[in-house]
């Protein structure tokens, strides 16, 4: 009897791979990377490269030690590295950025089983750990278009939130849109982030549900509380968080209704922190908190099976 190759059906595949999806995410992040380099100078680009290198290296080494198959080729570590860097101030010492990369990959991702298994977003969690550990370095804001390489300005520039709270001059709406303001590397340029978001939706990498619900809730809720909707939308890390972090596959719900609940939840928590908590910004904490609720949201939103409840004769 001749031997033939057999396998379970289907015998066709659409050709899309995890790697190609992650490559699309990286492409979507290019505008934000370019913008951060223009706004904060060459050091921004170096910081991104250093963080990515830290993430990739720590994933490689951890998986070697844990005797897991190598997973560098799926590019998820690169995405985590870029996202983490975009959430850091340009003035951050490189070793802190490297530490952040190691925390994101080793503790948050690999210790929980690696790609697809972590229950919170690695980049966001690493950022929060860095904020708690190095509070002043993580909130030293370099003024935009004020390039430097090794010796940062001692003057810390105000963000929209700190400026509006202390009565300083706030950036114009156009500056906000173009990103000419203080902030983390990748969060300032609304234009670049929106370009990335449109690309991700057009390439069907993400569904627009989470970003729309997240941003929409912030806009509506903050307006009700007396905030300026456009400033609320473009300031802080909202666009970066809503488009690139809250849509992280592993830590957001897979059901349609779950995505709606998740997006609205992120928006509500963000506004509550912005308006009522001691912290100036709440996007990271909001996403982290909602990440933890994902399994419960999914359990509550199991869709109806086709035909369930339909009338029969």
């Amino acid at each position: 009897m001749n031997k033939l190759p057999v396998s379970i059906s289907p015998h066709l595949h659409c050709g899309r791979s995890s790697r190609s999806i992650m490559l699309d995410v990286i492409i979507a992040l290019v505008p934000a990377i370019v913008a951060s380099t223009i706004i904060f100078g060459f050091r921004a680009l170096i910081l991104i490269i250093v963080t990515v290198a830290a993430c990739v290296a720590s994933e490689y080494v951890t998986r070697k030690i844990l005797k897991r198959p190598d997973s560098i080729h799926n590019l998820t570590a690169v995405v985590t590295g870029i996202l983490l860097a975009l959430n850091l101030p340009v003035t951050l010492p490189f070793w802190m950025a490297i530490l952040g990369g190691v925390i994101a990959i080793v503790i948050v991702k690999e210790f929980f089983g690696g790609v697809g298994q972590n229950f919170v977003n690695p980049a966001i969690t690493a950022r929060i750990i860095l904020m708690m550990s190095f509070a002043s370095q993580m909130s030293t804001w370099q003024p935009p278009l004020n390039y430097y390489m090794f010796r940062p300005d001692v003057i810390s520039s105000a963000t929209y939130f700190s400026a509006s709270q202390t009565g300083q001059k706030v950036p114009s709406l156009l500056d906000m849109f173009l990103g000419i303001r203080a902030g983390s590397l990748g969060e300032t340029c609304a234009l670049a982030l929106l370009m990335g978001g449109v690309y991700l939706v057009a390439r069907k990498v993400i569904s627009p549900i989470i970003p729309l619900c997240f941003i929409g809730t912030v806009v509506v809720f903050s307006t009700l509380l007396g905030g300026d909707p456009l400033y609320q939308m473009m300031s802080g890390g909202l666009l970066l968080g809503a488009i690139f972090m809250a849509t992280d596959y592993t830590t957001s719900p897979i059901t349609r209704n779950g995505k709606i609940i998740f997006g609205i939840g992120c928006g509500i928590v963000t506004v509550l922190i912005r308006f009522f908590a001691a912290l100036p910004e709440g996007v990271s904490y909001a996403i982290l908190l909602m990440n933890i609720l994902v399994p419960h949201i999914e359990n509550l939103t199991i869709p109806k099976v086709f035909g369930e409840g339909a009338k029969v004769k």
Partner: protein, 441 residues
């Protein structure tokens, strides 16, 4: 009423598969009888047939060689004329052993006897003819047709839905039926509708087969007295449009609840080739002995070929010029739901409608960890959560599976087709169902 009717509803999910209808314009060709045919005694769900011939008997085409007393069964006929070489068990593709009658062909071409039209005057006549024709459905289970036609008085049927969707890539065998025998399809529908007292009939064909749609519509228009109760409907080209529930939804707007039969929403579904074969039996009295197969993929000559039931796969491949690459994956059926065969000696059965050949170069991607992208959820036409089902299955979590409605899965393969991690999700679905059965014990 010259225009084609459009689908009433479009199901959520599904995937756009490559159509690859390369053989669409290939007229059916007849293959000469092979040296030997192997005819299994179980080619349908239900009772296994017992051989009614013995070693050394001389048989002719269309002669009954296996039958069963069971209600759910269909007789099996000789597909070549020749001598019974023996009755031996064979290992079938589903892993089960099954008795099979081996007939050495006398090599004579199929000689169709004088047509013996069957007179149909009542539902009983129709059911008897359906049983004697030996026809079984071509959908997975191979339901004997007479069982399906035996509709109960309690669930009256108002619509006969003819499945001409042919949503699997490559396969054009139903399409050829609609081009070559439109008259038989319509006449068969009229007979079934008349004797089962069904008010409406609708043929659903995917929009990627405009010629097939046109041919049937034109034939309806040409009939002496236009039959207003029959519709030809263009339905979306979206896999798995040909699945029972998706088809009924597209053609009638009715949803069949999970675990229910089409009859409970007033529909009777028959495949387009099946209804044509029934009409052929009524017209000439020749039972199901041959099947049209689309042989396509990585093969020297793609063909639509009519072969005797029981022909070894290898003979059909040789008739089509042989494989281009060896080894190749040989699939009975289409590439989405067909079954990869472990041997070319296995026979073509009544349910076979295609042989699809895929080369090593077309092998599936390696499995990698799930990234929870949710594409399987978007693709599932039944609105299931394949990613969750797989997770519960791997953890043997039967309590978790309970909430996930695995039994509604029809194993269409949309989830695995789109999975960027190349997960073998259909395998997980099958395993999940097995776990549920074990837990129920």
């Amino acid at each position: 009423m010259d225009t084609l009717t459009k689908a009433i509803a479009k199901f959520k999910g599904g995937v756009k598969v490559p159509h690859n209808k390369n053989t669409a314009e290939f007229e059916s060709v007849f293959m000469e009888p092979p040296k030997i045919v192997t005819i299994p005694m179980q080619q349908h769900i239900g009772g296994v047939c017992k051989p009614t011939v013995k070693k050394g008997d001389i048989v002719t085409v269309g002669q009954v060689i296996g039958d069963s007393e069971a209600f759910v069964s269909a007789p099996i006929h000789a597909s070549v004329s020749g001598k019974v070489k023996g009755i031996k068990p064979v290992l079938m593709a589903n892993g089960q052993m099954c008795d099979a009658i081996h007939i050495a062909s006398d090599g004579l071409p199929v000689e169709f006897p004088e047509p013996r039209p069957i007179e149909i005057n009542s539902k009983e006549d129709l059911l008897r003819a359906a049983r004697e024709s030996g026809i079984v459905g071509i959908g997975g289970a191979g339901f004997p047709m007479h069982v399906k036609l035996n509709v109960s008085e309690e669930t009256p049927i108002d619509t006969l839905v003819i499945n001409g969707a042919e949503c699997e890539p490559f396969i054009t065998s139903d399409y050829r039926e609609s081009l070559e025998y439109p008259d038989r399809i319509i006449a068969g529908m009229q007979a079934v509708m008349k004797h089962l007292n069904i008010a409406h009939g609708v043929v659903g064909i995917e929009s990627n087969k405009p010629k097939g749609l046109r041919k049937l519509r034109d034939h309806l228009n040409e009939l002496a007295d236009l039959d207003p109760t029959i519709d030809v409907m263009e339905i979306p080209s979206l896999y798995p449009q040909g699945a029972e529930k998706m088809l009924v939804y597209a053609t009638t707007g009715r949803k069949i609840p999970p675990g229910k039969l089409p009859s409970e929403v007033g529909c009777l579904i028959m495949n387009i080739s099946t209804i044509s074969l029934l009409q052929r039996y009524i017209e000439i009295g020749m039972p199901l002995t041959h099947k049209r197969l689309t042989v396509d993929g990585n093969i020297t000559q793609s063909k639509n070929v009519v072969v005797p039931v029981g022909t070894p796969i290898g003979d059909v491949i040789n008739f089509c010029g042989g494989l281009i690459d060896e080894p190749s994956k040989i699939i009975l059926g289409g590439p989405m739901m067909g079954i990869a065969q472990f041997s070319t000696e296995l026979p073509i059965t009544k349910q076979t409608n295609a042989i699809t050949i895929l080369s090593e170069a077309q092998r599936l991607p390696e499995e990698s960890p799930c990234i929870r992208c949710g594409r399987c959820v978007e693709a599932c036409p039944m609105s299931l959560l394949p990613v969750q089902i797989e997770r519960c299955t791997r953890n043997n979590d039967t309590a978790g599976l309970k909430k996930l409605n695995v039994s509604a899965c029809m194993e269409c393969g949309c989830c695995a087709f789109v999975c960027p991690a190349g997960r073998r999700l259909v395998q997980s679905m099958k395993r999940a169902k097995q776990l549920e059965r074990e837990a129920a014990k």
